[in-house]
């Protein structure tokens, strides 16, 4: 549905030039939610603004549903843009318009009749659950309500694609969850392809099917979300996953450990699980099988893209051969379990 081919965008100023998007190739299948995560300044906003030609790429192609945007005339581009909804971090609602009139704006711009506008806006108000606020002004709404108005507005022209530029970054955690589930619901109900950018793992974890990591204008890693959590390849991706897990309220690992092997010390292992293999049952079953003892130092269960994932840190009591067998055995579940030796207990 969305295809980016060799996309570049650079900004020239008098004495230097910044390459904000540096050769990006990306393919987002229809009906999917694709997340792009990166640190501030990585080029996320520039990238997503290139997708609907708010920013003209310096080179490369953007293909939306088979249309090469660079080859469209001005009026064809405007028509295509009407079919690409976009929501923003700061909502960007018009203060001079009521909720109803804000949602009606894209329909007015597209030249819809009064009657069509009425029908469409009222059904969108229902979708985002704001019918009772339709005559209010944006200044009378909370952040979450504003973003819901913006979502309704972005959907007004029945877009095939929805772009989200840090759509939840200005919201508190609870409101973030509510907005994310609304986006998921829209994706399911209307089968809209969603491309979102974010710096928050929460967003990726909650609604994305696939994720790509962007750094210095390049995609350095892309995979399904489960695989991203299970098997982050690059340092940056690993940091995202680790930081996310550590942000959760969990007991500190109570055991001191060091990276070098020393005789007779217990192994400290991080285990990541996906899907129904989750957590303790498997660990206890295998511990029995290999005749070792396992003590759980840290445990966290998360729902990632509607699948359960477990993050454990365990200490293994047993001789070296048995613990090695245990870890090797876990490795045979490669798509659903990952074991990683962190070090040796003091």
């Amino acid at each position: 549905m969305i295809e980016l081919i060799n996309l570049y965008k650079s900004y020239q100023s008098k004495d230097n030039s910044v390459i904000a998007v540096n050769g990006i190739n990306l393919n987002v299948a229809a009906g999917k939610i694709f997340g792009i995560i990166g640190l501030s300044g990585a080029g996320k906003s520039t990238l997503i603004r290139c997708v609907n030609f708010l920013e003209k790429p310096s080179s490369g192609e953007v293909v939306i549903n088979g249309k090469y945007l660079s080859q469209l005339s001005n009026s064809e581009l405007h028509q295509t843009q009407q079919k690409i909804g976009m929501i923003f971090q700061h909502f960007n609602l018009l203060n001079s318009r009521t909720v109803f009139a804000n949602i009606a704006l894209p329909l007015e711009l597209a030249g819809s009749s009064k009657q069509d506008i009425n029908l469409k806006v009222n059904s969108l108000l229902q979708l985002v659950d704001l019918t009772d606020k339709k005559n209010n002004y944006p200044s009378q709404l909370s952040g979450g309500q504003k973003q819901r108005v913006a979502i309704a507005r972005a959907l007004a022209n029945d877009p095939e694609v929805l772009l989200c530029d840090e759509a939840t970054s200005a919201l508190d955690p609870q409101t973030t969850d509510a907005i994310l589930s609304l986006l998921k619901q829209i994706n399911n109900k209307l089968n809209i392809t969603i491309l979102l950018i974010t710096h928050e793992m929460e967003v990726v974890k909650n609604i994305c099917d696939q994720v790509a990591v962007i750094d210095q204008g390049k995609i350095i890693e892309a995979s399904t979300v489960e695989n991203f959590f299970l098997n982050p390849q690059t340092q940056l991706a690993q940091n995202f996953v680790r930081t996310f897990c550590n942000e959760k309220p969990m007991p500190e690992i109570s055991v001191e450990f060091q990276p070098q092997y020393s005789e007779g010390k217990n192994l400290i292992v991080r285990l990541t699980f996906v899907g129904n293999k989750v957590a303790e049952p498997l660990v206890t079953k295998l511990a029995k099988k290999f005749n070792i003892d396992v003590s759980i130092l840290q445990a966290d269960i998360e729902t990632v893209n509607e699948k359960t994932m477990g993050f454990l840190v365990v200490e293994l009591y047993g001789d070296k051969q048995k613990t090695t067998e245990f870890i090797d055995h876990l490795a045979t579940y490669e798509t659903s379990v990952k074991a990683e030796v962190l070090g040796y207990a003091n």
Binding site: M86, N92, L94
Partner: protein, 220 residues
């Protein structure tokens, strides 16, 4: 004489109102589009055009820096060419409008520049053309600032119209100079001042009223 005074005052008041509002409307009609052009031709706006922007900015700044009293005298030939005369209220409209146009252009430009860039981006993301961006976003979103600025323009025009009276433009300023200054009639002087102050108050009041109607969305 006393009955005559009220008649004179009434006529002068009508002339002042005519000058202020006619010149005001002319300056709005010409000044606001110039303000739009100034705003959108700026380098990060929706239709960047450095040449248009620089030329307009220069003309507007020159226009704003010429004192009204000098402008009024300097453009007498133009006034005569347009209206066929250089005295009277209609003739006074020309210098009044010419001085108010750059003022309005600047005020309008500032009002438009306060519209957050994100809103125009949002419009663009909906596939809006530049015309649509101007009429659906730029103008409505800046209307409160615009109304306040235009009110200020009318107030300024009241005092300029009094000056125009000094060279035969008619109106309350003319009356004050002929009777109050040249014939030492301080009664007429005081009455004209009171009427001018009242007129400014009424204009300001109406302007505030109008902007608060449109400001509904902002504060409640």
């Amino acid at each position: 004489m006393p009955t005559n005074i009220w008649g004179l005052l009434l006529q002068a008041f009508a002339e002042t109102v005519y000058m202020v509002f006619a010149a005001g409307i002319i300056s709005f009609v010409i000044g606001i589009p110039i303000g739009i052009l100034l705003c959108i031709s700026d380098k990060n706006h929706i239709a960047p055009n450095p040449i248009v922007n620089q030329c307009l900015a220069t003309v507007v700044n020159i226009g704003r820096s010429i004192p009204f009293i000098i402008l009024m005298v300097a453009i007498i030939p133009v006034t005569r060419w347009i209206t066929g005369t250089s005295i009277g209220t209609t003739a006074a409209l020309v210098p009044l409008a010419v001085s108010a146009i750059p003022f309005v252009a600047k005020i309008a430009e500032n009002a438009f520049k306060q519209v957050a860039h994100g809103l125009l981006e949002t419009g663009k993301s909906m596939g809006a053309s530049n015309w649509q961006l101007i009429f659906y976003i730029l103008l409505p979103e800046s209307r409160v600032a615009l109304i306040n600025g235009l009110t200020l323009t009318l107030v300024t025009l009241v005092s300029f119209s009094a000056m125009a009276g000094a060279i035969g433009g008619g109106g309350l300023g003319d009356l004050a100079i002929r009777y109050g200054y040249q014939r030492f009639n301080s009664f007429i002087m005081i009455i004209t001042v009171v009427i001018l102050v009242g007129l400014v108050q009424i204009i300001q009041l109406l302007g505030n009223k109008l902007s608060s109607i449109y400001n509904l969305g902002k504060h409640q």
